[in-house]
């Protein structure tokens, strides 16, 4: 176990380092002179020189990379060129919207997918299953940002149950905040729920063919009961992979959805950063998102091993 964990941790650190190097090279080296790039064509040379100094661009590339990494490890992302405040503070503020949104969507998508998958698997290849699977095909094909617009048309403009956008902040209490995030989370969750339900159904059907399930059935347990009591746990491994992948996807997807609902999250921050050529902001947000994706994948791997100890040895044997 410790050997496996050590190997996995080494590869985690290497992936994080390589990812940060890619981001650094793309943002700091590709544009030539980032300071001139950020200030635009009409900048006067003196202010470009000031910015160069402020960004520490005169140092050699490798030194700049390690300085940046060192600062990152202290949570220091640098100063935003447009907002004139530490980017770390901006990111923390925006994460308070993006992270709850992604988690809310994950909860919703799992909550929708579980019962649907159990229902369909218990009726595999019968009419109920076919209809449900047809609906999930449509669910997968719906672009979430379009679905978000349709939700706004129905629930905000038509029924007026929710506001069409904006975020009141958490200081007014949890409920108003969650309410503002409900439509965005639904828009993110439903297409994901369709994918999750299909994969779970397939995993369940496969598990239902196993001997111990037949034994449980022979004991007189109903099919749905067997699924909830026995099959679900064993079908969990492929499902966990997808849930993990979904969390990274939801985090990235929330970037687009935030634009539909005018939510002050990471997505709005990074798109404004692109428009204003604030490379410090873009670089920092991308680093946070990519690190989050890598960490999520790592945690999913750890959870596998917790669920199925056999995997520890398989990994070593490879």
């Amino acid at each position: 176990m410790t050997a496996w964990l050590a190997r996995r941790l080494t590869s985690l650190v290497l992936t994080l380092l390589a990812a940060s190097l890619i981001i650094f090279l793309m943002i700091e080296v590709l544009p030539g002179d980032p300071a001139a790039f950020m200030m635009g064509l009409n900048a006067d040379p003196q202010s470009v020189a000031v910015l160069r100094e402020q960004l520490g661009l005169d140092a050699p590339i490798l030194a700049r990379y390690f300085t940046w990494l060192g600062a990152l490890s202290h949570g220091d992302f640098g100063l935003s060129y447009t907002y004139r405040v530490p980017v770390g503070d901006l990111i923390v503020q925006r994460l308070a919207v993006s992270l709850p949104l992604a988690l809310y969507a994950l909860v919703l998508s799992t909550a929708f997918a579980f019962p649907i998958a159990v229902f369909a698997a218990a009726r595999a290849n019968k009419a109920g299953d076919t209809i449900i699977m047809g609906i999930t095909q449509i669910g997968i094909a719906i672009p979430n940002f379009w679905f978000a617009m349709v939700l706004v048309l129905i629930f905000s403009i038509g029924l007026q149950w929710f506001s069409a956008g904006g975020f009141p902040g958490w200081q007014g209490g949890v409920l108003p905040g969650l309410r503002a995030l409900t439509l965005p989370a639904l828009a993110l969750a439903l297409p994901q729920a369709a994918i999750l339900a299909r994969i779970m159904r397939a995993a369940l059907i496969e598990t239902l063919a196993e001997d111990y399930v037949r034994t449980a059935r022979a004991k007189g347990l109903g099919k749905t009961q067997v699924i909830w009591r026995h099959a679900l746990r064993n079908a969990l491994i492929p499902v966990l992979t997808i849930i993990g992948m979904q969390l990274s996807f939801l985090l990235a997807g929330s970037i687009i959805i935030e634009n539909v609902f005018f939510l002050p999250g990471l997505g709005r921050l990074v798109f404004q950063g692109i428009i204003q050529r604030d490379l410090v902001v873009v670089k920092s947000v991308v680093v946070v998102l990519v690190f989050a994706v890598v960490m999520i994948n790592f945690l999913v791997d750890l959870t596998y091993v917790a669920i199925d100890p056999r995997l520890r040895h398989e990994k070593r044997g490879k």
Binding site: I23, I27, Q137, A141, M149
Partner: protein, 274 residues
């Protein structure tokens, strides 16, 4: 005997054909010029003269949807080609060489998976500015590990087959075996995955154009049409509905087609284990 075609194959092929046809026809004919402004005819709801209505500048929505199909298909196809063109050889190489080649390929794969297409597009756009080409590159890069993993996995199981052993005994080189024996046997799998990545490419392109990182005006794109529709959707819902349905039907069509093709290539999968 011809295998019986599944319902998903027929529906999927029909939907995909309609979208493809719309894109092809738009090359030489659309009901109106998709870029022509006609302020007098602005924000018309769907009528016999404008089937899908007109937008705030009086442009014909049907013509824009048709021309948008072209953009979506082009971006998605090129992105799939990038993914296949680089990913499949890498996957075959890893399966043939094992050892360090395989190990480094898998590590690089993990690394690329850490950059979802959207994040890659953000990086590229921040430096090079928005455009359809950058969208293609971002989506294409994300496709590479998908095809590399798939072809490595499939090739690994083929390398243990008797006919591959026979080929090895007759002193054929790994490259030759990969091309003559492995690749032809994973083509079906690649085509199925290709249709799935194609449909994902269409959604990704629409998302990127929606946030302004994809096709730029005056090139028509479904994603940007939706972005422009957003502020007008309450009084002109057709502006939001038709491009959305275009995306929905093309993605649905390709996914169903992929399912149908998988059934054709691999009858075992018909048992309902998707």
């Amino acid at each position: 005997m011809m295998p019986r075609l599944s319902a998903s194959f027929v529906i999927g092929a029909a939907l995909s054909a309609i979208i493809l046809l719309a894109a092809l026809v738009s090359l030489f004919w659309t009901p109106y010029d998709y870029a022509a402004l006609d302020i007098a005819a602005r924000l018309l709801p769907p009528t016999p003269s404008h089937w899908f209505g007109t937008d705030h500048l009086g442009r014909d929505v049907l013509s824009m949807v048709m021309a948008g199909a072209r953009n979506s298909i082009a971006v998605a196809i090129v992105a799939v080609c990038i993914g296949m063109g680089l990913g499949v050889p890498l996957g075959l190489l890893a399966a043939a060489q094992r050892g360090w080649a395989e190990e480094s390929l898998m590590r690089v794969n993990d690394l690329v998976f850490a950059f979802p297409a959207l994040i890659m597009a953000i990086l590229i756009t921040a430096v090079f500015g928005p455009g359809a080409i950058n969208a293609i590159i971002a989506i294409g890069i994300f496709n590479i590990p998908v095809f590399a993993r798939l072809s490595r996995g499939a090739a690994l199981s083929l390398w243990t087959r008797d006919y591959v052993l026979a080929a090895r005994l007759s002193a054929k080189r790994p490259l030759q075996i990969s091309l003559e024996h492995i690749l032809p046997n994973i083509t079906g799998l690649l085509i199925v995955q290709g249709t799935i990545q194609f449909s994902m490419g269409i959604i990704a392109e629409a998302g990127l154009s929606y946030v302004g990182l994809g096709a730029q005006p005056p090139n028509p794109s479904w994603g940007r049409m939706l972005f422009e529709a957003q502020t007008m959707a309450s009084f002109a819902p057709w502006l939001a509905l038709f491009p959305g349905f275009a995306i929905l039907f093309s993605v649905l069509g390709l996914n169903l087609l992929g399912d149908g093709l998988r059934d054709l290539f691999d009858p075992k999968s018909r048992r309902g284990v998707a």
